[in-house]
C-alpha cells in the first residue's frame, strides 16, 4: 500500500499528494505539538533556572522519570487494544517487596531478580486470564488486582523497610554511562523494541485492529484473546522490572513503594495521544509526553514548586490533550460546508492545519 501511494506520488496527482500529506500530518500531528511543547518547556526551564541545562540535572531528570516511563510502555499497547491496566504500580510494589523479602531470606541476588520478574509475569497473567477467560472488563479486574497485589506486598513486608542491599547492585538504580542513567538506557532499548514491534510488525498491526473493532479483528483471523494475554503478561514483567529499578535507586524495599504511579503512567499514555476508545496511538507519542512531564516537573522543582502542587500541571496537560484537539475539530466542523464545495480544487492548502 505504501509503495502504491508512492507510485501515485511519482505520477504527480495533486489530490494524491494532498491525501498523503494529510495522512502524514494526521499521524505526525500530535507528536509535533508535543515536540514543540517539549522544546518550549526546555527553553522555559533554562530561563527559569541556570541549573537546568547541566548534565548533572539531566541525569537526575532522566533517572526520576524512569519507573513511570517503564510502566507507560506496555500500558500504551494495552490502551491501544482498548483495555486498561491499573495494577501496574501495585506489581511494581509487589516486585520491590519480594526483592527485599527474598534478600532478607538470604537468597542469592542472581536468583532473586528472575524470581521477581517471574512474579510480575504471573501477576500479569492473572490479569490477562480473568479478562480473557471470563470476559471481565479490564477496568474492574485491574482495580481489584491493584488492591490485591498491593495487599500481597503488605503481607510480605508489613511496615518494615529493607535497605541492606549489596552496593554493587546500586548501579542498576543510579549508575550512569556518560550522563545517561543505566535504567534510562534500559528504558530506551525497551522503547525502541516496543516501537518496532508496534509499528513495523504484523503483531503490532493486530493491536490496532483489535482496538479499532475487536469483532472485526476476530473475524479476520486475529487471535485477539491470545494477544491480550501476552500484553498483560508483558505488562507484568516490565512493571516488575520497574520495581527492581525503583528498589535499587532508593536502596529501599517497602510495601508502599510506587503507590499511585498507575495514575501518572496512565496520564502520560493519554497525553501521548493514545486514544481511550482504542485503535489509535504511537509509542513515540508516549515517549514525548513522558519527557515533557519529566522536564516540566524538573524545571518547576528547580524553582521550589513542591511535588504535590506539580500534579496540577500533570492533570491540566492530561485534560487539555483531549479538550484542545476536540475544540479544534469542532471549529473545523463549523467551516466544513464551505470547504466541501471546492473539493475538486487542490487540497494541499489545508494540509498544515491538521493536528488530530
Amino acid at each position: 500500500m505504501n509503495s502504491s501511494t508512492r507510485l501515485q506520488l511519482a505520477q504527480g496527482g495533486p489530490s494524491d499528494a494532498g491525501k498523503q500529506g494529510r495522512r502524514l500530518a494526521r499521524a505526525v500531528g500530535w507528536e509535533l505539538i508535543l515536540g514543540i511543547l517539549l522544546l518550549a518547556a526546555i527553553v522555559a526551564g533554562q530561563i527559569l533556572s541556570p541549573d537546568f541545562l547541566t548534565t548533572a540535572n539531566w541525569t537526575n531528570l532522566l533517572a526520576n522519570f524512569v519507573e513511570i516511563a517503564l510502566l507507560a510502555l506496555p500500558l500504551t499497547l494495552i490502551v491501544i487494544t482498548k483495555e486498561i491496566d491499573l495494577s501496574v504500580a501495585s506489581i511494581l510494589g509487589l516486585s520491590s517487596s519480594l526483592l527485599g523479602f527474598l534478600w532478607q531470606a538470604r537468597w542469592p541476588m542472581p536468583l532473586v531478580l528472575p524470581t521477581c520478574l517471574a512474579a510480575g509475569a504471573l501477576a500479569g497473567l492473572l490479569n490477562g486470564f480473568l479478562i480473557v477467560q471470563f470476559r471481565l472488563p479490564s477496568l474492574a479486574v485491574t482495580i481489584g488486582t491493584l488492591t490485591l497485589f498491593r495487599g500481597f506486598s503488605f503481607v510480605l513486608l508489613g511496615d518494615r523497610a529493607i535497605a541492606d542491599f549489596p552496593p554493587e547492585y546500586s548501579n542498576l538504580g543510579f549508575g550512569t554511562i556518560g550522563f545517561l542513567p543505566i535504567p534510562f538506557i534500559f528504558f530506551l532499548i525497551l522503547a525502541i523494541v516496543t516501537a518496532i514491534v508496534v509499528h513495523a510488525t504484523p503483531f503490532g498491526r493486530t493491536l490496532f485492529a483489535i482496538g479499532g473493532n475487536q469483532t472485526a479483528a476476530q473475524f479476520s483471523g486475529v487471535r485477539t484473546q491470545r494477544t491480550k494475554l501476552i500484553l498483560f503478561a508483558v505488562s507484568g514483567i516490565v512493571s516488575a522490572l520497574a520495581g527492581i529499578v525503583f528498589t535499587f535507586r532508593f536502596m529501599s524495599s517497602r510495601a508502599d513503594n510506587g503507590t499511585g504511579f498507575e495514575l501518572s503512567a496512565l496520564a502520560a499514555v493519554f497525553l501521548g495521544g493514545v486514544s481511550v476508545v482504542g485503535g489509535k496511538g504511537t509509542v513515540f507519542g508516549t515517549f514525548l509526553s513522558l519527557l515533557l512531564i519529566a522536564v516540566i516537573n524538573n524545571a518547576l522543582t528547580l524553582v521550589d514548586v513542591s511535588n504535590e502542587i506539580l500534579t496540577i500541571v500533570t492533570g491540566s496537560l492530561l485534560i487539555s490533550s483531549i479538550v484542545l484537539p476536540n475544540l479544534l475539530s469542532q471549529v473545523r466542523e463549523r467551516f466544513r460546508p464551505r470547504h466541501s464545495a471546492e473539493t475538486s480544487a487542490p487540497v494541499a492548502q489545508s494540509v498544515p492545519q491538521n493536528p488530530s
Binding site: 480473568l130 471470563f134 470476559r135 472488563p137 488492591t147 495487599g151 503481607v155 504535590e308 491540566s316 479538550v323
Partner: protein, 341 residues
C-alpha cells in the same frame, strides 16, 4: 383446573423465591449475617457496642461516597475525583470554623456541599462540552483538585480544638440508637434509591448505561442526565468532606487521599456493574458495609492488618467473576427459552 391453579400459585411463589435468589442485596445480607455470626462466635468482643459504633462510623463515609459513585457508574461513567473533592471540602469546613468559630453548622454543610457540586460541575463540563471520556476527565481533576488542595492548605492543619463541640458531636450523638452521621447517609440512600427506582429520571440513567446510542434514539437527554450524575457525585463528595471533619476532627491536605478505588470497589462488590446499566445504591451501600465488616472482623480475629487489602482485592475479583458467570448462565437460559417458543 385445580392443578393449573395450584401450579399458578406455586409458580408465583417460586418466582418470588427466584427473584430473591437472584437479588444481589439478599446475598450480600446473607453473607454479612454469616460473617457477623461467625466472627462473633469466635470472639464476642466483635459485637461490643464501641466496636459496632466505630465500624458504623467508618463505613458511613465510604458508603455515602459509594452511593454518589453509583449514579455515574450506572450511566457507564466513572468519577475518580471524589477523593480530592473530599480533601478540599474537609479542609474548607475546618477553615470556616477556624476563622469564624460561631458559624452555624448548617451553613458549613451547605457551603461544603455547594463546593462539591461546583467541582462536579467542572467535571461535567469537561465531559460534556470538552467531550473528554469521564475516566480521563476525572483522572485529570483528581490531580488538579488535589494539587490545588495542597497549594491552598500549604502545610496547615485543623485540629479538633478549632472545631465546635456541637459539630464534632455529629459523629457521636445518637438518635434512635444510631449516630447522626448514619442517619444522614440513610437519608441520601433512600432519596437516591427512590429517584433511581421510581422516577423517569432514574430509569433513564439505567437506559443510558445499558445502551447509550439507544438512549439517544429513545429521546433521552443523555447530556443532561450525565451532567446531573456528576453534580450529584460531586455534591455527595463535598458533603462527605464536611462529615469527614465531623468524624475525625483533625484534617490536613491529605483527607480522603487515594480513597477513590476503595469507593469503586464497594460499589462494584455491591452489584453496580462497571459496564453500566445495572445495580442499586442500596447494593453499593451494602458493599461498603461488607468491606467494612470484613476489615473489622480481621482485626477482631487478630489477623495482621496487612491482610486487609489482599482480602479486599480478592472480594472484588470474586464479585465480578460471579456476576459474569450468572450473566453467562442467564444468557444460555434465555437462548433455550427462545428456541422453544
Amino acid at each position: 383446573m385445580k392443578r393449573d391453579y395450584l401450579m399458578g400459585k406455586f409458580g408465583g411463589l417460586s418466582q418470588a423465591w427466584e427473584r430473591l435468589l437472584r437479588s444481589r442485596e439478599a446475598w450480600l445480607v446473607l453473607l454479612l449475617a454469616v460473617l457477623v455470626i461467625g466472627t462473633a462466635s469466635a470472639n464476642t468482643r466483635f459485637l461490643g457496642s464501641q466496636n459496632i459504633k466505630d465500624l458504623m462510623l467508618n463505613v458511613s463515609l465510604i458508603a455515602l461516597l459509594a452511593i454518589g459513585q453509583s449514579i455515574p457508574i450506572i450511566m457507564r461513567q466513572i468519577d475518580l475525583s471524589v477523593g480530592s473533592i473530599v480533601g478540599i471540602t474537609a479542609f474548607l469546613s475546618g477553615l470556616i470554623f477556624f476563622d469564624h468559630p460561631n458559624t452555624p453548622n448548617l451553613l458549613v454543610f451547605l457551603v461544603g456541599t455547594g463546593v462539591g457540586v461546583l467541582l462536579g460541575a467542572i467535571n461535567a463540563a469537561l465531559i460534556i462540552w470538552g467531550r473528554v471520556p469521564s475516566l480521563i476527565a476525572t483522572l485529570g481533576t483528581l490531580y488538579i483538585y488535589r494539587g490545588a488542595d495542597y497549594a491552598w492548605v500549604h502545610g496547615r492543619q485543623i485540629n479538633a480544638a478549632n472545631v465546635p463541640a456541637s459539630f464534632l458531636a455529629l459523629g457521636n450523638i445518637g438518635f434512635l440508637g444510631l449516630p447522626l452521621l448514619m442517619w444522614i447517609v440513610l437519608l441520601f440512600l433512600v432519596l437516591a434509591a427512590v429517584v433511581l427506582r421510581q422516577l423517569p429520571m432514574g430509569r433513564e440513567c439505567y437506559a443510558i448505561g445499558s445502551n447509550p446510542t439507544a438512549a439517544v434514539l429513545a429521546g433521552i437527554n443523555v447530556h443532561r442526565r450525565v451532567c446531573m450524575g456528576f453534580l450529584f457525585s460531586g455534591g455527595i463528595a463535598g458533603l462527605t468532606g464536611v462529615l469527614w471533619l465531623a468524624r475525625f476532627g483533625t484534617v490536613d491536605a491529605t483527607a480522603g487521599l487515594g480513597i477513590e478505588f476503595q469507593v469503586v470497589t464497594a460499589a462494584v462488590v455491591g452489584g453496580v456493574a462497571i459496564t453500566g446499566g445495572s445495580g442499586t445504591v442500596g447494593g453499593a451501600a451494602l458493599g461498603a458495609l461488607l468491606l467494612g465488616v470484613f476489615n473489622s472482623a480481621l482485626v477482631v480475629l487478630r489477623v495482621p492488618p496487612f491482610w486487609q487489602q489482599a482480602f479486599q482485592g480478592t472480594m472484588l475479583l470474586v464479585a465480578i467473576s460471579v456476576d459474569a458467570y450468572l450473566a453467562h448462565r442467564l444468557a444460555i437460559r434465555l437462548r433455550i427459552k427462545r428456541s422453544h417458543l
